[in-house]
């Protein structure tokens, strides 16, 4: 039966994908018309997305499917369940925010039709990714968001740095894509279907029959984890996210903070949902797969946070902060020992949304600051609070939310994550996450102090900074409001996700986490703040100096150095092979040259008379006749 919900679920991704083609055409009518068109498309997409919310909220939490025939044997379709609709709404909402913000931020740039085309293409593909009902369709969209990411990072194609960053982003995420494709291939070979529904029911019947190959399925989950690691910038493939900061800031906010990097989280959440429906598989995942996910998450969290503490690039702080927060989500997913019935699964998704709000807010404000000062280097900034009071106020909200101070959004989500990780018995990971929260507070305070506090720097005075335009501040203000209220929406979100965890708002405050949080955060903040006002240069140049730790942090734990060493090794190998090939060619050439010389000698045999030709012809004829007689017989 076709309900309104199903129509919305189809239109929500088909509509922006169709509309994006018209952007270059409508741009002929003028820039203003094009901008209105893009905002209208994003708004209609958001309306479609939010029209799906009541059906889920008041429904029973069971997935609804709608499919049409695509390739023989494979259907295309939409899969409406709480997880997909949560992501759909987030992407559509953020798409609208960025469509509005871009009007201010990208004003006067060249090639804006290309930019808006890619933004709409991205919104459509990303919603398509999360709402697909089968893995093949999901994988196609997975690649399409990767392509959009590449094209948008390399948007300023005249700057070599942007182009190189685009290539790096594309190549590094490709490693994970191969891994994910392998996972999908093994699932298809085992079950003969791509659809989530089909895979779950086939796994269940195989499990009842006792024929489910759990070892192979765990391998599939590890391969899917590989895909998530590359897409969600986890250890050891996280370095691309920092390079991706060459993109326009609006793109960083949409793709590299709020939505695209969450595709890996979505993938793992979806896979855990599949495993949760098949009891033997969930048991098989507990010894190795889930702890691996938790370890990767916890290590990424602390690595990202320490790097955010040292970088001097304002967008770099936000990029490494994203890496670190994605690590939190990963760790939470790793603690989901009972699938969707555990706190970890819900906590990860709750943190996913709150992170989108505060990190998106950070990027939107950073965009305004970069516009005002014309640089991304925080060492040149300072004293901006007088020139940009609204930005300053919003940034304070961002700082409080990011660090996880009560009562803003991240306090609830991070508290849940740490409860869940401790509850799953991952003590070492929980300690790492606690340490990360302290470092998180340190790096946001450092960013706030360097950019807004103290005396106005020379650069600031020279640039005459001014407040960002309203079209950039209003989207940021909406996000700041959501940062404040999102945490209190926790009971509503549990109802929406149809998880019954017995969580209460008051419980978050009375947890054991709250005092530890405050005990960690308040001294960290005070020490940093005091050191800044004492003109303690360590804060400014925390990555300066030549001690081993500073060197290690400046090189981002040498990950990129290892990668470039590998690339250089391949280059050396290729050069060696080229020389070997040249030598072989030399040998072949001398061999061929011998024939050439022989033939040129033969040419010199005097054979210019007609008699010689005739004589040679007769000898040849006789030879042929003799050969025929010898082989065939008379």
């Amino acid at each position: 039966m076709v309900t309104l919900d199903i129509i919305s679920a189809w239109l929500v991704w088909v509509f922006p994908l169709v509309a994006c083609v018209f952007v270059p055409l409508i741009a002929k009518k003028g820039d203003k018309v094009r901008n209105y068109f893009v905002i209208a498309v994003a708004a209609v997409t958001a309306a479609f997305a939010f029209s799906l919310v009541p059906g889920i909220f008041f429904g029973n939490g069971q997935p609804t499917e709608s499919t049409i025939a695509w390739i023989a044997g494979i259907n295309a379709g939409v899969y409406i369940d709480p997880l997909s609709i949560l992501f759909t709404c987030l992407v559509a909402f953020f798409g609208l925010i960025i469509a509005v913000y871009s009007w201010g931020y990208m004003k006067g740039e060249e090639g804006l039709s290309r930019y808006y085309f890619l933004i709409l293409l991205f919104i459509g593909s990303m919603i398509g990714l999360v709402i697909s009902d089968n893995m093949l369709q999901m994988f196609i969209f997975w690649e399409m968001v990767g392509l959009c990411s590449y094209a948008l990072v390399a948007f300023w194609f005249k700057r070599p740095a942007s182009v190189n960053a685009g290539n790096k982003v594309f190549i590094m995420t490709r490693i994970g894509d191969v891994s994910l494709l392998a996972a999908i291939g093994i699932l298809y070979m085992s079950f003969g279907t791509f659809s989530f529904h089909g895979i779950i029911s086939d796994m269940q019947s195989a499990a009842t029959a006792g024929t489910l190959n759990t070892g192979l399925m765990v391998t599939v989950f590890f391969l899917a984890l590989g895909g998530a690691i590359a897409k969600s910038a986890q250890l050891p493939l996280f370095t691309w996210l920092y390079s991706a900061m060459e993109a326009p800031t609006s793109v960083s906010a949409l793709l590299h903070a709020a939505t695209m990097v969450k595709a890996g989280i979505y993938l793992l959440a979806r896979f855990i949902l599949i495993a949760a429906a098949v009891a033997p598989l969930m048991i098989a995942l507990r010894p190795y797969w889930l702890p691996t996910v938790a370890w990767i998450g916890a290590l990424t969290a602390i690595v990202g946070a320490t790097l955010a503490l040292t970088t001097t690039d304002i967008k770099g702080v936000l990029a490494y902060s994203t890496v670190s927060q994605l690590g939190f989500m990963m760790a939470a997913l790793g603690s989901a020992l009972n699938g969707a019935a555990s706190v970890g699964w819900f906590a990860s998704l709750f943190q996913m949304v709150s992170h989108a709000f505060f990190e998106g807010l950070g990027f939107l404000l950073a965009g305004g600051i970069i516009h005002a000062l014309g640089t991304r280097d925080m060492r040149l900034m300072g004293g901006l609070r007088k020139a940009m009071p609204v930005t300053f106020a919003l940034m304070v909200i961002m700082v409080i939310t990011t660090s996880g101070l009560p009562p803003f959004a991240a306090f609830f989500s991070k508290g849940l994550i740490i409860t869940s990780v401790t509850g799953a018995g991952y003590i070492a990971e929980a300690v790492l996450l606690y340490a990360t929260t302290a470092i998180t507070f340190a790096y946001v305070i450092r960013m706030l102090s360097l950019v807004f506090m103290g005396k106005e720097s020379e650069h600031t005075v020279k640039q005459h900074p001014h407040e960002a335009p309203k079209v950039m501040l209003i989207p940021a203000g909406i996000l700041a409001g959501l940062c404040i209220v999102w945490g209190f929406a926790e009971p509503l979100v549990t109802t929406f996700m149809h998880v019954n965890l017995g969580l209460t708002l008051l419980g978050s405050f009375t947890n054991i986490e709250t005092p530890i949080f405050l005990a960690l955060l308040v001294p960290t903040g005070l020490v940093l703040y005091w050191s800044y006002y004492k003109d303690y240069m360590g804060l400014r140049n925390i990555g300066g100096g030549s001690n081993p730790i500073a060197t290690m942090l400046n090189h981002a734990y040498f990950f990129d150095d290892v990668y470039s060493a590998i690339a250089k090794g391949i280059g050396k190998f290729s050069d060696g092979l080229m020389h070997a090939d040249d030598l072989a060619n030399l040998g072949l050439n001398s061999f061929a040259g011998w024939f050439v010389r022989a033939s040129s000698r033969l040419k010199k045999v005097p054979s210019t008379t007609i008699q010689n030709y005739i004589a040679a012809g007769i000898v040849g004829f006789i030879l042929i006749v003799v050969l025929i007689i010898l082989t065939v017989g008379v």
Binding site: I370, T375, R376, S574, L577, D581
Partner: protein, 108 residues
């Protein structure tokens, strides 16, 4: 499964060509060889499975591939004309030179 070995060999030749050649056109031919090896693998798998639809899709794949080749060849001509050489290493060093000049461009 002979065709799998054949396409593996073709892919091997393509990768060898990628590693040993520095001329744009030869690099492009090597890439095409890898693509054709993959397509050959698909077409043989499809024909052994006896499905007509796969072959229909392959015609689509081939025509897309041809269109892509057209674009890439046009790009090769432009690059060669602009830099006056078709050697990848030379083009890269010129690129780096331009990068150091563009360092002053600034952000945003």
């Amino acid at each position: 499964m002979d065709f799998v070995i054949l396409s593996l060999v073709m892919m091997g030749i393509g990768i060898y060509g990628l590693l040993t050649n520095r001329q744009l056109l030869k690099v492009f031919i090597s890439i095409e060889l890898i693509a054709i090896a993959a397509t050959l693998n698909f077409v043989m798998l499809v024909s052994s499975a006896g499905q007509g639809l796969g072959q229909a899709f392959l015609i689509l794949a081939f025509s897309t591939d041809t269109a892509v080749s057209g674009v890439v060849l046009a790009l090769l001509v432009i690059v060669t004309k602009k830099y006056g050489t078709s050697n990848i290493n030379d083009i890269l060093t010129m690129h780096e030179k331009r990068e150091s000049e563009a360092e002053e461009y600034g952000d945003a």
